[in-house]
């Protein structure tokens, strides 16, 4: 493993700040380009992982909502996936799926499942019984009840799950370079002793997490005007 000890090759100049591994605004300004592509890799990994994770958990939650006996097994399996250390997951998958995005995504997706499944199900379970009774009593079929009443009312909890999943995935995706998927983690570990480097790459991670969190919150507010009424 060639890891943290490697230095960024072409550190510009011989200013003392850079030589001392300090926090150097000038260096960050001049070298910002090197973080752009990894940043977008990171965005890609996070968004795709959460999207796939959500699609799977959402489907599982809909099935388990009607067939309650499935809840136990699904929670158990996703909880086991959740507890596998991420680095271990990458290495376990490498012989099967090879280096690259696929391996990273499989691991990242598997971490989102438990949170997203539980929140979606909790959202559905919290729909007031009397609203469901009134809906059925007025002649909504179970499918109409699900899409017109139950799911809209579950949106706040579903989005809460997505926010947790998105922010955790931003963090976990810093390890995706172990699977050869790039991302900001690769930059961080490229020169872990150089403060300017670590702060910039790390800072971008935090920014991404905050941006996703706020974005999801705004989406939720837009689609649930009733929750603020």
């Amino acid at each position: 493993m060639i890891l943290a000890q490697v230095q960024i090759h072409n550190r510009a100049g011989d200013e003392s700040c850079v030589a001392d591994n300090g926090l150097c605004p000038d260096w960050i300004w001049d070298n910002f380009d090197r973080y752009v592509d990894p940043f977008w890799d990171h965005v890609y990994l996070t968004v795709v992982a959460v999207a796939i994770g959500f699609a799977i958990s959402f489907a599982l939650a809909l099935v388990a909502y009607r067939r309650r006996w499935l809840i136990g097994p699904i929670v158990n399996v996703t909880a086991i996936l959740y507890t596998v250390p991420s680095v271990a997951a990458f290495f376990l998958l490498l012989p099967v799926t090879g280096r690259g995005n696929t391996t990273a995504l499989i691991a990242l997706v598997s971490y989102t499942l438990l949170i997203l499944f539980r929140n979606t199900l909790a959202g559905l379970d919290n729909v007031p019984e009397e609203a469901k009774d009134a809906g059925r009593g007025m002649g909504l079929t179970s499918r109409q009840l699900l899409w017109r009443v139950e799911l809209p009312l579950a949106v706040p909890e579903i989005v809460a799950g997505l926010r947790v999943a998105a922010t955790t995935t931003v963090g976990l995706a810093t390890l995706a370079f172990f699977a050869g998927a790039g991302g900001l983690g690769e930059q961080i570990f490229a020169d872990i002793n150089f403060k300017s480097n670590v702060v910039t790459a790390g800072g971008l991670c935090v920014l991404l997490a905050v941006a996703l969190d706020i974005g999801l919150l705004l989406v939720q507010r837009a689609v649930t005007p009733w929750s603020r009424a």
Binding site: P128, E130, A131, K132, D133, A134, G135, R136, G137, M138, G139, L140, T141, Q144, V149, P152, L153, T224, P225, W226, S227, A229
Partner: protein, 353 residues
């Protein structure tokens, strides 16, 4: 839509795993346009009986017929769209505005937008809500009484021939409940729906029902009768006990002052000689130019003033409070229409309905 006739024929419900029926061979017919109240203690099967009508609960045996057609032959969702449904907790959809809630069934039936908007406003006015003010509100922004009204409007949305109402005013404070009851009765004068109304409150049953079905434990029908019959001739000890020891007084709340034969008393203008002739009461009553009572000629105050639309129970209560045997009755303009006496009330109670 024309109100429908509803008929329970030996309708029975036995829940799985239970040996006792929840509703036991219930047979009764609700004529079109009447309010039938199902009343009884908790666990008597009244809600189950109601919910069998729109197949929220499936019947085990027997039949329920709507305009002669068995509900079991209909697809549940379609059947339910033709039956208004209002429940105690209202069950408004929190994520929809008032307009969206009221429009639920019209949307299911695919009405066009303009028709829905017009209908929503019409319904909100019908239940005494200002459409402009309430239309775009969410349920959480309404008071309990307003929510209940929206619930009724929603149930009436497609002008269903039958309404099911499960303790619709049960969660409302007494003052607003009374108001909503009166409003609904007034509304019913207009819309003339067939209504199945479930309550555990015998006073509400007497007030709201054209006919009352008293149910007892085990889902059996104890008596099915008009309120007056029920109060004067309870079918058995259970009904007698359930309607309460004050059933005589309750009967008095069924009759209005205008429905009894009032006494005539001599009326005099101030300073004039009392008229001569045959009167039911020998105490002359002094009136002003408009015929409004001023005082008894003897000098005692002409109180309380009873109105023709008062129910006998309220009139009696006021007379007892004033410790008087006689009270002048006035019409809408305030002119004397006659005299009510404790004796008249007593005679009314003695009559069989």
């Amino acid at each position: 839509m024309e109100a429908a006739t509803l008929e329970f024929r030996e309708a029975t419900k036995v829940y799985p795993g239970s040996t006792e029926p929840a509703v036991d061979h219930l047979s009764l017919e609700v004529p079109a346009g009447q309010i039938c109240v199902l009343v009884g203690p908790s666990g008597c099967g009244k809600t189950t009986a109601m919910r069998m009508v729109n197949r929220m609960i499936e019947i085990t045996d027997g039949d329920i017929r709507l305009d002669g057609k068995s509900v079991t032959e209909r697809r549940p969702a379609e059947l339910r769209r033709e039956i208004g449904y209002a429940i105690q907790q209202v069950g408004l959809f929190p994520h929809m505005t008032v307009a969206g809630n009221v429009a639920t069934v019209p949307r299911l039936l695919g009405w066009d937008k303009r028709r829905i908007t017009a209908r929503v406003d019409e319904l909100l006015e019908l239940v005494s809500l200002d459409p402009a003010e309430t239309r775009d509100r969410y349920p959480s922004q309404l008071s309990g009484g307003q929510r209940q009204r929206v619930g009724v409007a929603r149930a009436l949305a497609v002008d269903p021939p039958l309404m099911l109402m499960d303790e619709p005013f049960g969660a409302i404070d007494p003052i607003n409940r009374e108001r909503l009851q009166n409003e609904f009765l007034r509304l019913q004068q207009e819309i003339r729906k067939t209504v199945v109304f479930v309550t555990h409150d015998i006073d509400e049953a007497i007030k709201m029902g054209d006919r009352i079905a008293v149910m007892q434990k085990g889902g059996r029908l104890a008596q099915y009768a008009t309120p007056a019959e029920l109060l004067s001739n309870p079918a058995n000890a259970f009904v007698e006990d359930f309607v309460g020891a004050d059933r005589g007084l309750k009967r008095l709340s069924l009759e209005r002052v205008r429905d009894v034969d009032l006494w005539r008393a001599p009326l005099v203008r101030d300073g004039e000689e009392p008229p001569t002739g045959e009167f039911d009461l020998d105490y002359p009553l002094v009136v002003d130019e408009a015929g409004r009572p001023v005082r008894w000629l003897s000098g005692s105050r002409a109180e309380p003033l009873i109105e023709l639309d008062d129910v006998l129970r309220d009139a009696l209560s006021e007379m007892l409070e004033q410790e008087t045997q006689y009270a002048p009755v006035v019409d809408k303009q305030g002119a004397v229409a006659g005299v009510l006496s404790i004796e008249i009330i007593g005679a009314t109670l003695a009559q069989e309905p």
